[in-house]
């Protein structure tokens, strides 16, 4: 197994599950389950036990591997060289399971839905562009930018709202941008994170073929997960495009005065999406955007930037729900953390975070106190209560 030797480099210091100041636990699955095996070091040793044949594959082994949200906090906190490929190791261990066909039913169903139906919602391909109705964004045809929406933005109710609000900003700015609509294919980021590297390769190759055939050079993604796949993984398959997340383009448009943020007196805080922040290195653009909103009161949460607490939606968990809910689920902890800032709005830049946190707000029963809004909505004065 690739990266197997890394399992011998971990000496159980336990730093991986902590926040930067070691004041709190910052590993989503460890927060939820409390057992060491659900922390990165624990997973490392479990995988080592499987590699050395001390344990066999079991339902529990699968569950432990598949509850990792791939948030990358461990990569930040680990003090050994093995940090670089830490998540790759977990992915390799998952690929071993996938090859055997030994994956939890929810993970299996996610793969099958994507291979058979093209998306995890099993919705028809013909419905994929419906979110754009009435927004005025054109179908891509030689435009300067491709707006790549992704599975969640195309089919999930909350995701579609974000796709709409982001696209509206582009349309208002008069940008040359088009979307693929019903021709769009799943980016595959979470397929890869779950270890199905073969299905991922297929999706990557199909997407690259499609983008090249349509003359796509610049891609703006709604979803940081797609941003990660296109920027980091697709070049390995010959797909070289200029990839930006929508927050980066928003900042450019604001600086060029193509869009004018409406004033707002809201108190907000910002939640760094893992695939934009830790994986993507983009921390400043969203904050710069918020600084450009006249009157907006911004404060940081305790754990922010590289230290942000994941909403728990990564690693396919958004679709498989392997982690489950409950009071100690990362999304609910994050909402409580946001409330501590005294803010009324929790600003997000990822459709998965939006949905995870919105559900957590409802579970916490704090809908009247805090609202989840994406950056595009914040530019338009924020609130539609």
């Amino acid at each position: 197994m690739e990266y197997a030797d890394l399992t011998r480099l971990c000496f159980r210091c336990g730093y991986c599950k902590f926040s930067a100041d070691y004041g709190e636990f910052n590993c989503p699955s460890y927060l939820k389950f409390g057992f060491d095996t659900y922390a990165p070091g624990g997973r490392m040793w479990l995988i080592k036990a499987w590699l050395t044949r001390q344990i066999d594959i079991s339902a529990n082994y699968m569950k432990i591997l598949y509850t990792c949200a791939t948030c990358g906090n461990c990569k930040e906190q680990c003090v050994m060289d093995l940090k670089t490929n830490l998540l790759d190791l977990f992915e390799a261990a998952k690929s071993e399971l996938v090859e055997e066909g030994a994956v939890p039913p929810a993970v299996r169903d996610y793969f099958k839905a994507i291979s058979i139906n093209g998306n995890p919602y099993k919705e028809p391909q013909s419905e994929r562009g419906k979110w754009a109705e009435g927004i005025g964004i054109e179908v891509f045809d030689g435009h300067e930018y491709l707006f790549y929406v992704g599975d969640v933005g195309s089919y999930d109710e909350r995701g579609k709202k974000m796709a709409t609000s982001v696209a509206s900003v582009f349309v208002d700015a008069g940008l040359s941008i088009g979307m693929l609509g019903e021709e769009e294919i799943s980016d595959g980021n979470d397929v890869k994170a779950l270890g199905e590297k073969w299905l991922f390769q297929y999706l990557a190759e199909e997407n690259i073929k499609l983008f090249n055939a349509r003359g796509v050079k610049k891609i703006i993604t709604l979803d940081p997960h797609a941003y990660n796949a296109f920027r980091v993984e697709y070049p390995k398959f010959g797909g070289n495009f200029e990839v930006q997340h929508y927050t980066q383009l928003f900042l450019t448009l604001i600086k060029n005065k193509a869009i004018h943020p409406e004033s707002s007196d809201l108190k907000v805080t910002y939640h760094d999406p893992c695939y934009l922040g830790r994986h993507g290195g983009v921390y400043d653009a969203p904050r710069e955007i918020l600084k450009c909103v006249p009157g907006l009161h911004f404060s940081e949460m305790g754990r922010n930037g590289k230290n942000a607490l994941c909403c728990g939606g990564g690693g396919g968990n958004f679709f498989t729900d392997m982690m489950g809910g409950g009071e100690e689920s990362p999304a609910r902890i994050r909402v409580r953390e946001a409330l501590e800032t005294g803010c009324q709005g929790l600003v997000v830049a990822c459709p998965l975070c939006a949905k995870m946190l919105e559900d957590a707000v409802k579970a916490e029963g704090v809908e009247t106190r805090i609202r989840i809004q994406d950056l595009a909505e914040t530019l338009k004065g924020g609130v539609e209560r």
Partner: protein
């Protein structure tokens, strides 16, 4: 243990089904085809039995060229060999004829156990498993959610309306699967391609000694007169028992039967 699994290729459950011009068949051009979900349970169970008792798993399917994908998926899951009855004269066979054709093939295949899906998701016939068992004159046990083979006998737990029935029989037996029997394993695309190395025998009606006039359109004992799209589904089904407890019990019953929700 010689285990034979009956497999059918059906339209994907999320496929947009449209009725063809003739009014009695479906348009097949845009459909994604999958192995019948109940047959997946059958293949998985066969593999588990082979894992504990040893033996061989053979997959048997009747259908056009495209059916080979379902056979390859079963082989990729781990089945040892496939037999594909591919004959245009068999197209349009009703459930009884299908059963007759499969039974004819089974006369030449050694079996201790035959496993089939309780029904196919396209026509919901429910008959082929039973028909095959009758033609072979072997016992049939339907809707099995758990089975155990001990000393040449099989003990099956089967679901009936709101009840669980335990049935015992000598082998050979044909049993059909119910949701909850197992969770079928996942197969990666490369593994489906690798399965091309496993043998698949092709058979025609002539190989099986079947007169085409007794199957296919000519042999239909049941004819489709017309196909209609179902009326728009009502969004809500109201539970209107006398007490909350009765409503709750009814809800649990409905959910268990539809979704096989655990009672934990």
């Amino acid at each position: 243990m010689e285990i034979v699994v009956l497999v059918k290729q059906v339209p994907d459950t999320e496929a947009m089904i449209q009725i063809a011009e003739d009014g009695v068949s479906l348009k097949t051009e845009k459909i994604t085809w999958i192995m019948n979900p109940y047959d997946e349970f059958a293949v998985e169970e066969a593999l588990r039995i082979r894992a504990s008792l040893g033996g061989r798993v053979t997959v048997l399917a009747l259908g056009p060229e495209s059916t080979v994908t379902a056979i390859r998926t079963a082989l990729a899951m781990g089945a040892d060999k496939g037999i594909h009855i591919n004959d245009p004269a068999a197209e349009g066979s009703d459930s009884l004829s299908t059963g007759k054709i499969l039974a004819a093939a089974l006369k030449d295949i050694p079996y201790d156990l035959i496993i089939a899906g309780q029904r196919a998701m396209d026509d919901d016939g429910y008959q082929v498993g039973a028909a095959v068992a009758e033609y072979l004159d072997i016992p049939q046990i339907s809707m099995v959610i758990k089975q155990e083979i001990v000393g040449g006998k099989i003990i099956c737990h089967r679901t009936e309306d709101g009840a669980l029935v335990t049935v015992e029989s000598d082998l050979p037996v044909l049993f059909t699967t119910q949701r909850g029997l197992n969770e079928p394993r996942y197969v990666t695309f490369p593994n489906i391609l690798k399965a091309k190395k496993k043998p698949v025998e092709i058979k025609t009606l002539e190989d099986l000694g079947i007169d085409p006039q007794t199957v296919g359109p000519a042999g239909q004992k049941v004819t489709i007169v017309a196909l209609h799209s179902p009326p728009k589904r009502i969004g809500v089904r109201m539970l209107v028992r006398e007490t909350d407890q009765e409503n709750a019990a009814e809800l649990v019953r409905i959910l268990s039967e539809k979704v096989n929700v655990s009672r934990a």
